[in-house]
């Protein structure tokens, strides 16, 4: 199965110790969830998108934990609920991208067989490639940050403060 191969490949992004501990379990759960999917295409796309996003954000978080420990300032910063791109960013990026592509197409058609036609295709392809890369990178980063925020596991760091505040409340 292609999807399982992709899943296993993405799982390789995790640190080895994490894979050793959870890898088999995660693969098994993924297979169970995949086999229970309804035939609707939209549901499947949503499922695979969620899985890819979850794996990428999970791998990033696991590496941060391994490298800097759970209390790293960067991790805290990246998991701040306030730290997120507005949804309108994605829409604006798509609009800008579409505008640039349309402009390039229009300019190419005006250029026709003139000398400029030799330059336009290469320039257009470079621009399209750059924009595509930027859009993809931005979308991936947004997705990762969105998943980090949604997981909410960063709030577990506050367990001790709960305990202490509960104790102090009990004493007072």
């Amino acid at each position: 199965m292609v999807t399982l191969k992709v899943y296993c490949w993405l799982l390789c992004l995790y640190p080895g110790s994490y894979r050793g501990e959870f890898g088999e379990e995660m693969t098994s759960v993924f297979c169970d969830a995949r086999s229970a999917l309804p035939p609707a295409l939209a549901v499947k796309i949503s499922f695979y998108g969620r899985e890819v996003g979850g794996l990428l954000s999970g791998a990033l978080r696991a590496h941060f934990d391994r490298l800097f420990g759970p209390a790293t300032p960067f991790r805290r910063f990246s998991m701040q609920p306030q730290f997120r791109f507005p949804r309108s960013t994605v829409f604006l990026m798509i609009v800008i991208f579409a505008t640039v592509v349309l402009t390039i197409a229009k300019a190419s058609s005006i250029g026709g067989d003139s000398t400029g036609s030799a330059v336009w295709p290469s320039l257009a392809s470079v621009l399209v490639f750059m924009l595509l890369t930027m859009c993809t990178a931005s979308a991936v980063v947004w997705w990762i940050l969105h998943n980090l925020r949604r997981s909410g596991v960063h709030r577990l760091e506050s367990v001790q403060s709960w305990k202490y505040s509960a104790e102090s409340n009990g004493k007072s």
């Binding site: 969830a33 899985e51 759970p70 596991v153 577990l156």
Partner: protein
């Protein structure tokens, strides 16, 4: 009372384990069922949360000889249950205040 609230997915994972010990896929389906299909966890998110909960001692693995490695079961620890109880109490107080405020506004 604590000042930090748990996120909905983590709270649902804990609530799922509060009822009975469960394995990963069972947690996934139970969370989906409890939230009416609104919270759909990916495996990456689920196991990220489980790892943190394990590290913090809120949950533990159920050690059984005949359990396959890819289907391990998790359960709440007494610490996890106590903290979950505190979170529920915090939510109850918040709901109470919210209801009072709304009633005052409508009056």
């Amino acid at each position: 009372m604590g000042t930090f609230a748990l996120s909905e997915p983590v709270l649902l994972v804990l609530l799922s384990l509060a009822e009975q010990p469960r394995h990963g896929y069972s947690i996934l389906k139970d969370v989906e069922s409890m939230s009416g299909g609104r919270v759909l966890l990916s495996t990456g998110t689920l196991y990220g949360a489980l790892q943190r909960l394990l590290d913090d001692g809120w949950i533990e693995r159920v050690e059984e000889d005949n359990t396959p490695r890819d289907r391990r079961t998790y359960r709440l620890t007494s610490r996890g249950r106590r903290n979950l109880q505190m979170e529920i109490e915090r939510m109850r107080q918040l709901t109470k205040v919210a209801a009072l405020r709304m009633a005052r506004k409508e009056a």
